[in-house]
Symmetry: C3
Subunit: 337 residues, 3 copies
């Protein structure tokens, strides 16, 4: 697939070769994301960043990725600041705002809203999360991280064993990740959640249809003993009808260093889409894991820059120009990556 | 008039030759706004974007226009984030913030506030809307659009026939547009509104004083049959003392394809300052007009970039340098304009 | 001290020679801040601007300072937009966001929060205010301004006489300024406040320990008669437990032109960290001082750009490169400085 001018709305639009192409281009972004080199390939281009739902990390990650390629960012956050509050349709918003930028990254609380927006947009749109539906760049950075973590163990994505833990019903990141995993052979997925927060059956069916092994469980400890990756998630309390209902499930599956040591294989990688909930009654990933070298959660967010830079470069068709507009960084940089 | 260093506070500061100069410079901005060329003429300059009232389109349009000239944008939105909430005077805010930027675009809910701010500012200020008073860049982009739409019919602004429809009392865009129209001879204006939302009499008087023909009506269909332009507006509900009062008038004048077909001359141009209210009980411009080629509402917002780029270039006195700091766009651009 | 890669968390980390170095570098930033020259030394660098508490002037000042050096700014404002609202720890926020930028400027309502954040950050962090604790760049710009104002009278910081007036308990700027003053010999400080809003005793003790003369008073007029600088402050009402309590102290010490003329030595410099509260019942610095040439409050905020540019240049180790990436400004600039 040639991505020039394409929307990125769902992981379902990707074939395995697309994913591998994105990852190979993401690899090439490392010198820029890690502040050894500067490129200005998108000098003069504008990203419209439209987050109609609270977000810090995804919003800043998209913005920084675009800045790292040399472009500018114009942001809109929240509904109250928006014409939508005055009754404007998504169609109108899209027609108007797509005249002001070269590409748009958008988050919106309603399922399907980003696709509806993209249909009216005159420039490519990347879905930065539409309700509990899709968040394709997150799924890509998760899979990129799994690939990178396994690579240090000389393994590939084929025959991956992964446990997904927590709110599998509302957590859009695990939905999108499952769909991506369908592209790779022989994956074994253990789904750990309370009964009420199980993975939607259509996603489970899709995994099984591609001959993946899927196990479902409501026990954490027995489920994480034979996996390469434990992918923990936060209870998405903002998607519940009441705080009380959400509280029923907070703190139900807690991974800490002791549970890890007693149950996991050595070097089992710990992931999480973040934010993790560090409040007393939640702590799905305990702070005592912070020094565990297998905790990959911050490598995940770092990888988000690489993947998003790759997507921008592909959509705007400048992949082969990136290195031509480059020079060394001339300021102090910590060796932080 | 030489605009270098000038505030742009009201359309009243313009003579016809000023308007024509702005438009001729706006024409020259098209290659940049349409992403065929990139200019960095304002590389290093900073726009202070201060929107003390909700705005997406105007705020982003000013910001993108400045980015397209190569400059940076520092934004402030909302009161709650502002020192004004701590009792700071507009004088102080202006003295301080004008030290941080080269030019300021500002919106504020109070009539006259932007002029008060500008009087204390040490850099030029563009009024991005002060309550129901003025919004000069909107009036300019509206008139620029009228001129461009008529040009495709080999007509000029002289002897223009235009119907303005809806909330003519609180809609600042129609106020400013009427004042601009006074500069051109022989304009025929039909004002269509409920009695309670009529155009302020001083504006009507001013039109009449310049020998324009002004008709007032509270009937839509009979009023749009002999005009070049139908300029529809939204009920400015945020200016009413209660939602109930605003609701009395929502949905009162609805233009849809059927009304258009039965009443308008062929090729009558449809305009709106946006956002249009697409909620069931409003719909002053129905969605079924979206495929009508005479619907110019998105060409209006696109033209906003041209006009705002022209204003920035003139105020900062770089008009003749724009093309010297230019190169071709090197990334994918849809043919969207 | 070599600042490359350092956090700037507290004025306590500075020795006198550090302060003098910062000021000499700030002096060199004047051509850029005053828009005579443009430098792009930080072209490609990203500032993470994270203001978890309302701020206009400090936030915009940091952002503009970074832009003036050629860098980009990615902003986060408010809690509600942030993952912190979903239970994320400062540790996690810091680990994540420090992967997206080269340096961070941060404000947070909780004392010590910025230091906690910095401990987890992978890039240098500048404290832009942590509750009523510290705000080192403000203290530096205050002292820089005092030095500059005295210089026009051919005086130095040694033997400075200064009165600090108002809310000395919650006003973090006076806390940090006192600590900085401890580095200079023979300073005489008059502290004027209501009993309940006195300067914290540990700060007074520290001043006295460095052999400074400290007087405390609850009378304005007698306290400002023999000083070089009157430093007025606003009642920090957002730090009180109730508005009623704050109102007890608003308007208690009002400096206006008449009080100034009758009590101050000629050319006594008037300063204020801003915002000043111009509401009827406050007015700690009356508007009738606006034409008094000794009112230095806007020179203070202008100097903030210089000091923050200096800090960024030092932290990112580009001081000696600034002038090499420079050219003349090519757009209109008012002679406003």
């Amino acid at each position: 697939m040639n991505f020039a001018g394409s929307h990125i709305l769902s992981v379902q639009q990707f074939q395995r070769e697309d994913v591998e192409l994105i990852f190979s281009i993401a690899d090439r972004m490392a010198p820029y994301a890690h502040r050894r080199r500067v490129t200005r390939v998108l000098d003069g281009a504008i990203l419209g960043s439209m987050f109609f739902e609270p977000s810090t990390r995804t919003r800043v990650s998209f913005g920084s990725a675009f800045n790292l390629l040399g472009g500018e960012v114009r942001e809109t956050t929240g509904f109250e600041q928006s014409a939508i509050a005055k009754g404007e349709s998504l169609y109108d918003t899209a027609r108007v705002l797509s005249g002001y930028s070269d590409v748009i990254a958008m988050r919106h609380p309603a399922t399907g809203s980003v696709a509806e927006f993209a249909a009216a947009s005159r420039v490519p749109v990347i879905n930065g999360g539409d309700g509990s539906n899709e968040h394709p760049s997150q799924a890509l950075l998760d899979l990129y991280t799994i690939r990178a973590e396994l690579a240090t163990k000389r393994r590939s994505l084929d025959q991956l064993r992964i446990a997904m833990v927590g709110d599998l019903r509302f957590g859009r990141t695990v939905h999108s990740l499952c769909k991506l995993l369908s592209l790779f052979p022989g994956v074994r997925v253990v789904l750990v959640s309370p009964e009420a927060l199980k993975m939607p059956p259509e996603i489970v069916d899709e995994l099984r249809a591609t001959e993946h092994q899927v196990l479902e469980s409501d026990q954490l400890e027995s489920s994480i003993s034979n996996v390469d990756i434990v992918y923990s998630t936060r209870i998405q309390e903002e998607r519940f009808s009441s705080q009380e209902e959400a509280d029923l499930y907070r703190g139900k599956f807690r991974l800490n260093q002791s549970v890890y040591t007693h149950n996991c294989e050595p070097n089992t990688v710990i992931m999480h889409p973040l934010p993790r909930d560090s409040r007393e009654n939640a702590r799905e990933l305990d702070d005592d894991l912070n020094e565990n070298p297998n905790l990959a959660i911050f490598r995940q967010t770092d990888n988000g820059l690489l993947v998003r830079m790759a997507l921008f470069a592909m959509i705007l068709d400048v992949v082969d120009q990136v290195d031509r507009h480059a020079r060394d960084v001339n300021w102090y940089t910590a060796s932080r990556f």
